[in-house]
């Protein structure tokens, strides 16, 4: 990758506070987070519930107001990034519009920015093929399985061909078999499209399997406690999970949590 | 099979409930009703019905003559709300029922469609005989409208009275005209009504014949106003004071009628398209207006008249006052009440010269 070393997302001294409903004070959701994410890399934000990983993702997506610090995405503020539609986002639930067909769900972002119809059709065909749902374009969401619905969500995020893909625990609600299949598919999509992917998860194996870097977050207050580089070869397949190297990395990541929970 | 059993059970349950409700209604002990001797005195009949609380009236401003009559004999003045049919009289829940000579009385006596067929087995107390008569159907308009359109008002009075004159001379033809204008009252009842209305238009409260159609009789008006002041009870103290202070000149102006009748029948009308709001449903009660329309009397004076039937809950006084229609037909007592409430309305002609209200009872 030609410019793989350029920093895509740079976070310095990020703090996010929430008002505390019980005693009127503030809760620190994120405290002094510093992070640099390289272009074209696959980075996981890993941590238990309440560690602020989703808050961090939402801050980058400009869905969450920050209290202090700087986030820059290729030198732009998150708001500018959002307004220029430079990232795609995938949520934990597929968030599909039940009254729209699969094709029209994927079309929605393009309708919002007002792409011409032929362009929309072309891109929908493209991303449908990418996620392997070409046959299902005319179906309604409720006619698809959970895994297929999540693929539609991914396809929709890819439709505008953004540079960054933000994924908030996209596979956590799926069964193990579907999850593995989608992980493989996600890797192949990433390989083909060369996006920068920021992936929130609470699953250690998943983060190790997918990522270049695993950012380990710890709670109360939410902060970065370690960044583990995953040097596994690419492309990866399921067999890699059986290797000792994989097991060692998993255990390394797990150890980085030591001391967080007594 | 199981479902069938259930449904049969349900049905039986339902039927039992329903039939027990009906049976409950039937088993109620029925009291003896007192019908009255043909020669019984008015006082004895009224006393009996009033003490039993079985005098009926429609209310809604139709009750003042009945209240006056009951007061005259020192009787309690509460009455039952009578529906606009005679079922209550028929089933004896009302012993002394209000009836208009030209309408309900005919339904009670006659046996055509909608009638109850009592024939001569009923008799009645007449408000005119008892000295508590109040004037009924008149013609009125907004005072402001009359002042601004005097020629239109005169033209409308002139043509309408011509219609009444013809209708009273030919009641059967008039009844037919009303029927053809869309009234759904049966032709037989319409004919009966026309005959009775003619009597009210051509006889005064004393029983004398009236020849000048629509004349405002000062004495009868004075009696109406005085009874109205006594029996119209207004909760609104502002309106009650206005009623207290009201004089004949506040509610009627004979000059339009007098000038119209003295004229040659040609007018320089200020407003050609006018409408008249009737007090009740289209029927021979208003035959004069339908005849005037049918015979072209309105056209002759340069008016294009629309007749709007009444019978709804928005009173004719409101309709005229809000400017929705130009003229209206109402009872003088209703006009007085509206005037007391602050509506500046003016009577311009008095079509019915005596009260058409009677209290009907069954005779032995």
């Amino acid at each position: 990758m030609a410019n793989a070393n350029e920093t895509e997302i740079n976070i310095k001294g990020l703090c996010v506070n929430f008002p505390d409903k019980d005693n009127g004070g503030d809760i620190q959701a994120l405290k002094d987070v510093n992070l640099a994410i390289k272009e074209g890399s696959f980075v996981s934000l890993l941590g238990p519930s309440g560690c602020g990983k989703t808050t961090l993702l939402r801050s980058i997506a400009d869905l969450q107001d920050i209290s202090s610090g700087i986030i820059s995405v290729k030198g732009k503020t998150p708001k500018e990034t959002r307004l220029s539609q430079q990232y795609g986002i995938v949520f934990q639930s597929p968030v599909l519009y039940e009254w729209r067909t699969v094709r029209r769900n994927i079309c929605m972002p393009m309708e919002v920015i007002g792409l011409p119809k032929e362009e929309r059709t072309r891109r929908v065909d493209e991303v449908l093929e990418l996620v392997g749902l070409t046959e299902f374009g005319r179906k309604y969401p409720h006619q698809l399985s959970g895994g297929m619905q999540q693929r539609v969500g991914i396809a929709r995020a890819l439709a505008l061909d953004p540079e960054i893909l933000l994924m908030d625990e996209p596979f956590s609600a799926l069964d193990e078999f579907t999850k593995e299949k989608l992980q493989i598919d996600l890797l192949s999509i990433w390989q083909k499209t060369k996006k920068t992917i920021l992936f929130v998860t609470h699953n250690i194996q998943e983060s190790v399997f997918l990522s270049d870097d695993v950012v380990v977050l710890s709670p109360h207050p939410g902060r970065v406690s370690a960044v583990v580089n995953i040097g596994l070869k690419r492309p990866r397949d399921l067999a890699i999970r059986e290797t000792a190297e994989f097991a060692a990395l998993v255990s390394k990541v797990r150890h980085s949590f030591e001391g967080i929970y007594e | 099979m199981k479902n069938l059993n259930k449904s049969v059970f349900l049905l039986v349950l339902l039927l039992t409930v329903v039939s027990s409700v009906f049976a409950g209604g039937e088993s109620e002990t029925v009291e003896e009703f007192s019908y009255y001797a043909a020669d019984a005195s008015v006082e004895s009949i009224l006393t009996d019905a009033a003490t039993k609380g079985q005098v009926g009236n429609w209310g809604l401003g139709n009750e003042y003559e009945v209240l006056a009559l009951l007061t005259k004999y020192d009787l309690p003045t509460s009455y039952l709300s009578q529906a606009f049919d005679m079922d209550g009289f028929d089933d004896d829940s009302i012993l002394l029922a209000s009836a208009m000579t030209y309408n309900e009385l005919g339904l009670v006596k006659n046996s055509y469609d909608g009638g109850y067929g009592y024939g001569e087995d009923v008799s009645f107390i007449d408000m005119n005989d008892e000295g508590v008569a109040m004037l009924e159907d008149n013609l009125f308009t907004k005072a402001e409208f009359a002042a601004e359109n005097p020629e239109t008002v005169k033209a409308f009075i002139y043509a309408s009275m011509k219609g009444w004159e013809y209708a009273c001379a030919n009641p059967e033809e008039a009844a037919e005209i009303v029927f053809n204008y869309g009234s759904s009252v049966s032709p037989e009842h319409q004919a009966y009504m026309a005959g009775e209305v003619k009597k009210l238009v051509e006889t005064d409260t004393e029983g004398n014949t009236v020849t000048s159609y629509g004349e405002i009789d000062e004495d009868a008006m004075a009696q109406t106003l005085s009874l109205a002041k006594t029996y119209i009870k207004l909760e609104d103290s502002v309106a009650a004071k206005a009623l207290e202070a009201m004089e004949l000149d506040d509610i009627r102006d004979s000059s339009y009628w007098e000038e119209a009748m003295a004229s040659e029948g040609s007018f320089d009308v200020e407003k050609a398209d006018v409408s008249v709001q009737l007090k009740w449903l289209p029927q021979a009660q208003f035959m004069g207006y339908y005849v005037a329309l049918d015979k072209g009397y309105y056209d002759e004076v340069g008016l294009n008249v629309t007749i709007i039937p009444g019978g709804g809950d928005i009173g004719e006084t409101t309709a005229v006052y809000t400017g929705q229609v130009d003229f209206g037909v109402t009872w003088v007592s209703n006009l007085i009440a509206a005037k007391a409430a602050g509506m500046d309305l003016l009577e311009i002609a008095q079509v019915y010269q005596r009260s058409g209200l009677v209290l009907v009872y069954k005779t032995e």
């Binding site: 997506a61 400009d62 869905l63 959002r82 307004l83 220029s84 539609q85 990232y87 986002i89 949520f91 968030v95 519009y97 039940e98 009254w99 067909t101 929605m108 309708e111 919002v112 179906k139 309604y140 409720h142 006619q143 | 349900l10 049905l11 339902l14 039927l15 329903v18 039939s19 009906f22 209604g25 039937e26 606009f84 049919d85 005679m86 079922d87 028929d90 089933d91 469609d113 909608g114 109850y116 029927f179 869309g182 009234s183 759904s184 009252v185 009737l278 449903l281 289209p282 029927q283 709007i308 039937p309 009444g310 019978g311 709804g312 809950d313 928005i314 409101t318 309709a319 809000t322 929705q324």
Partner: protein, 272 residues
């Protein structure tokens, strides 16, 4: 025969049985009334008498039979109901949007929407009449006032039911307000709007019949009250009772049908 079709067939059968049961109850009542009342047709006539009156060619007014009176006047009333319904639904729609957009509007107006529903039509009518100067416009406006409430409240519920993630998605796309409303909020509230419309449609018809009685003229309500006042055959009244119930039910069905057209995904669900 598929299982689904078999089920819908038994459902229909059940309803038919119930209707028959109702008829039996009615007839028992009518027989009792016939024996105890002098004018049973005014209280509870036999159904056969009502049906007979529908097909009778006896003229009730100079040109029309009882049934012709019902049909011609029904046209006028239903037209008013339809227009009132459209205005009411439109007003409810806009008000729900306003209440959703501005919390102040919702808080300030919501209690009054309830109170307006408490004002009897008779109280409203003279004011509306004084404003419009036209009884027919007043009738339409009052029918609209009576129908907008269920649409407004249901749609507001619908707008509030939108999930947070769907907002986030729209925000992530930097969607304009117009896009948020047309692509997210309004489509989400469509099922809610329709449940409001399903309540409002029969209400518009009964309201329209009720406002007919405000003044004479034409319309089902006017004929109903004339018939009750014995100015015409009492069977006109009975026919109108059945006619209005039938049309009310049909209006509900019409809304369900329209809902299906507007929500193809629901249709797909049914077909699965």
């Amino acid at each position: 025969m598929t299982e689904a079709r078999k089920n819908s067939l038994t459902d229909k059968l059940v309803i038919i049985v119930w209707i028959i049961a109702l008829i039996i109850v009615w007839e028992i009542g009518a027989s009792v009334v016939e024996k105890t009342k002098r004018s049973p047709q005014n209280v509870l006539p036999h159904l056969s008498q009502i049906v007979e009156s529908v097909f009778s060619d006896k003229m009730v007014s100079n040109k029309q039979t009882a049934f012709q009176i019902v049909i011609t006047n029904a046209g006028i009333t239903l037209l008013r109901a339809g227009i009132g319904f459209l205005y009411g639904a439109g007003a409810g729609f806009l008000l729900a949007l306003a209440m959703h957009r501005f919390i102040t509007v919702e808080k300030a107006t919501f209690p009054y929407l309830m109170m307006i529903q408490m004002i009897p039509i008779l109280g409203m009518a003279p004011i509306v009449l004084a404003i419009t100067q036209d009884i027919n416009k007043s009738r339409i406006i009052i029918a609209a006032i009576l129908t907008f409430y269920p649409v407004a409240t249901n749609m507001l519920d619908g707008l509030k039911s939108v999930e947070k993630e769907k907002y986030d998605l729209m925000r992530s796309l930097a969607a304009s307000n117009w896009n948020i409303y047309t692509k997210l909020l309004i489509p989400t509230s469509i099922p809610y709007i329709f449940s409001g419309l399903k309540i409002a449609a029969p209400m518009a018809i009964t309201a329209s019949i009720l406002v007919d009685t405000l003044q004479g003229g034409a319309g089902l309500g006017t004929m109903l009250s004339q018939s009750l006042k014995h100015a015409m055959s009492i069977y006109v009244f009975w026919q109108i009772v059945f006619f209005s119930a039938t049309v009310g039910i049909l209006s509900y069905k019409l809304m369900s049908f329209a809902e299906k057209i507007f929500s193809p995904h629901e249709r797909a669900k049914g077909a699965r």
